[in-house]
Amino acid sequence: MPELSLLGQQLRRSLTIARKDMRIYYSKGPVVIFGVLFPVFLFLAFSIGREFTIDFMMPGLIGMVLFFTATSISPVVVPWEAQARTLERLMSSPIRLETIIAGDILASLLFGIAISAVPIIAGLVLGITIASPALFALAVIVAAVCFAALGNIFSVPPSNVPATVNMIAAAVRFPVIFISGVFIPLQQLPHWGQWIAYISPLTYFTDIARGCIQGQAHLPPAVDFALLIAFAALFLVLAMRLHHRTMPRRL
């Protein structure tokens, strides 16, 4: 029972961390606008001039927006806090490091889900239909957890310069977009291309989204979900463990 009560206490305090992050880092106009506009324009740059249907475009666009937004701010929250000299205060509070990381990830995934609602609603207005709304919603949530945890891992190197961390994040985020079936569905990729795609968690979300919106998934939904959950679990564990190693070096 004491363990349960401790878990409840730490969960409540991670919600406090998430609320703080949302207020300080995510509610700024430029962050929100950039979160929507950047992936949209990137997507348009690759799709304009080609004869794609809205059903084909939306799964990739939603996947890209979710991936970009859930990994946009989470890499820089810890470096910002260290640079602003607020991190030591948090570390001396009665909260575990895992509680801080969980709060940061929670804020990031909520931001990702909220911003992804924009292209989802736009798609619905433009006439797409989602065959299994519950399955799709679950996929959005699991993928948001996965991407937010991945974003948090980018902040593991003990650099307190946000630009350095952003460079590390960009070096991973852009290649992931190109190998994940966002622009070309998995079934149209060559065999070797498909194997590369399987190392990206975004592939599995995009595949679920294509199944729900286009009715053309490459893998069974159970396989997509299992791999997405496995990636999410791996990234969560890595984020928690690696921050334990590097946190003392940032203070």
């Binding site: 305090r13 961390i17 703080k20 000299r85 607020t86 205060r89 509070s93 009665p94 575990r96 203070l251």
Partner: protein
Amino acid sequence: MSANPVHHPTAAVEVRHLTKHFNGVAAVDDISFEVARGEFFGFLGPNGAGKTTTVRVLTGVLRADGGTAVVMGFPAGSLRAKQMAGVVPEMANAYTDLSAWDNLMLMADLYGVPASTAKERARGLLQDLGLLERKDSLVRAYSRGMRQRLILAMALISDPEVLFLDEPTSGLDVQSSRLIKELLRKLNRAGKTIFLTTHDMDEANQLCQRVAIINKGKIVAIDSPERLRLATGRRHSVEVSFETSISAQVLASLPGVSEVQKLGDKYRLFTPSPGAVAMAVVEMARTMGLNIVSLNTLAPSLEDAFVALTEMESRHA
């Protein structure tokens, strides 16, 4: 997290053989000390002596490489120890995009303070620290002194039993510094244990019941400021000024004088027996027909004791 208290039940802080290395260099080197509950304890040392590292271990920000540290009966760094401690880290900042009030409510949430209690305490603390009128302003508009007062309020929102402060008044304006010192005295009178890290000797002398002096990671002395001052008796002195100029050599020849320094229009005569030297100065002035403008005997300051002890330690190292 340990469920039960460990070690000495009356000690607020208990440190045994604590060691912490950075890149093979000992920042804290096998130090041991205790701070009693309700004590105002000063932790003095030059820059880089190991003060902040010690505080960071005690507040759970860093893990020690060796030894033990216990806070209010619980291992330092455990959730229970952290729950009972308030912390003002060195060079810390509040969230500048939040108001003072929201910073305090954030801290209250992190310490699990019920909302109604937190609001009542926040109002009282902001009042005591002269920030109540600006409670809704964003902290980015605060001066450095106001921010530091707010950080102290944030450390106190959980009503901690022990308060760790790392250079809390360093570089502050006189008003902020006074307000903080006054509040610390008040808290100590109310029974709170205060662990103050500083390199301001006057501050330590005014506030602390006991001080530890740390140099190069090792504790070189622990005692009351008064006893530490008197322990370096060779630094007692007599300060004298005359209406007309006089050779320092004449003063140096007086019995019991070990050294003479000319300070402006005054001479400072160092001696282990200031009373006898003062009388000898008066006798010499009478004999030579000199008029004395001022004559004072000076006890060694805590700063003198600090310099003597750290120099002694450096020579032995």
